[in-house]
Point group: C2
Chain length 235, copies 2
């Protein structure tokens, strides 16, 4: 937690208030905060401030805002990922948000087990986003969309994301060419499930404007490939 993310409701009075038990506990136990110290605070979808800690109690922490701080820019990227196993979902969302993904889209695919869509973790996406923002020092919530049917997404939604300066790349081990690097423009990246997209899916993605590239001969897990490919594409 490198900033504490609060809602604009919590900034209505002269002193701002942290009231989440998760945040209060983390600040007390891990950061061992004291009255009089400075604390970085972000307002969800708003600005980021340096504040001074005025009061620490069981149920709240009061802050005095000192001055505004810059928030980091997002990466110009739409990340489309086949729905991962539930225990990977939290980490995948946190990391994508921390690294600055502008828009995250979870999709179905042939090799995605249908049971994955039943996970209660899907209800907690907002919490994972908060954790990712607090890690990065960012305040702007990325857009998240979910499409539980592959074909309608690829045929109807994906083409609207693509243009000359914003291509779409699919990572696929059997592609001929290696993924580009060091882009000077934005793009959509499409990452398949464990075991990869099936040929029909790759075909449909290509027919709808995607370019298919490999990432070398090593097979990398979904949650690892995301930071790997973002580091590669956006220097």
């Amino acid at each position: 937690m490198n900033i504490v993310l609060i809602d604009s409701r919590q900034t209505q009075n002269d002193f701002w208030m942290i009231s989440s038990q998760r945040q209060i506990q983390h600040l007390k136990q891990h950061l061992e905060i004291q009255v009089g110290e400075n604390l970085k605070v972000g307002i969800r979808n708003g600005k980021r401030y340096l504040t001074e800690i005025i009061e620490i109690s069981e149920k709240r922490i009061l802050l005095k805002p000192l001055y505004e701080q810059a928030t980091p820019a997002k990466l110009p990227v739409t990340l489309v990922v086949a729905m991962p196993r539930p225990k990977v979902l939290r980490r995948l969302i946190m990391d994508s948000v921390t690294l600055g993904v502008d828009k995250l889209i979870l999709i179905h695919s042939y090799r995605v087990d249908k049971s994955y869509w039943q996970t209660p973790f899907l209800q907690q996406i907002d919490d994972y986003i908060t954790l990712g923002l607090e890690q990065a020092g960012d305040t702007i919530v990325p857009k998240v969309e979910i499409y539980k049917r592959f074909k309608p997404f690829v045929e109807d939604v994906l083409p609207t994301l693509i243009n000359e300066n914003y291509p779409a790349f699919v990572a696929h081990p059997y592609a001929e060419n290696k993924m580009p690097n060091s882009l000077d423009h934005g793009c959509t990246i499409v990452i398949g499930p464990e075991g990869g997209f099936i040929p029909y899916e790759i075909d449909l993605l290509c027919k709808n404007g995607c370019q298919v590239f490999h990432l070398g001969s090593r097979i990398i897990r979904t949650e690892t490939v995301i930071p790997y490919v973002l580091g590669r594409l956006f220097p």
Copy 2:
């Protein structure tokens, strides 16, 4: 598990043998293997083969080697990481190995809690390496070294790793310049602990031949920064 890693001892007879319970269970339960199917097998620190499954029993799987397959090349990189929290260690080692790190060095640093060195996970590094190799389809065990004292490592060991074509880069949020990208040579990368290196440590690293760079204004967790920086450095 994209290959099954076995020891050369297990390849002494006409039919090769898988005897690890972990591997047998994974192959049966997750991959649902059947007699007559093909299976990718790597010999630890040796070659990689396509094999045919001859027999599946409770305690062993027998294989007939068919032909040799290429193993992926390593990245020309020595990764030096401040010892992470125990629960991060497993993932950090697996990912580093999967991505092809040639040599991994764990070091102490001021902000590394001394208790981290007591973790039983340190005894399981070989297991994590195996998992990383099996994920990547690689067979060559990377070198792993551990230095529990920062200063002797930086003064006596680090300079021996650095030369004109193999510089050492430290990732540090307060550096002036951004980390290079798309290298055409190898390098050592030094990654600090949660909270970063202290000024004294950065100083000592610089005095001993390191160049200090930042990775942008987002604060990224150690386990995420590793794939991110490897993707950036080695296209």
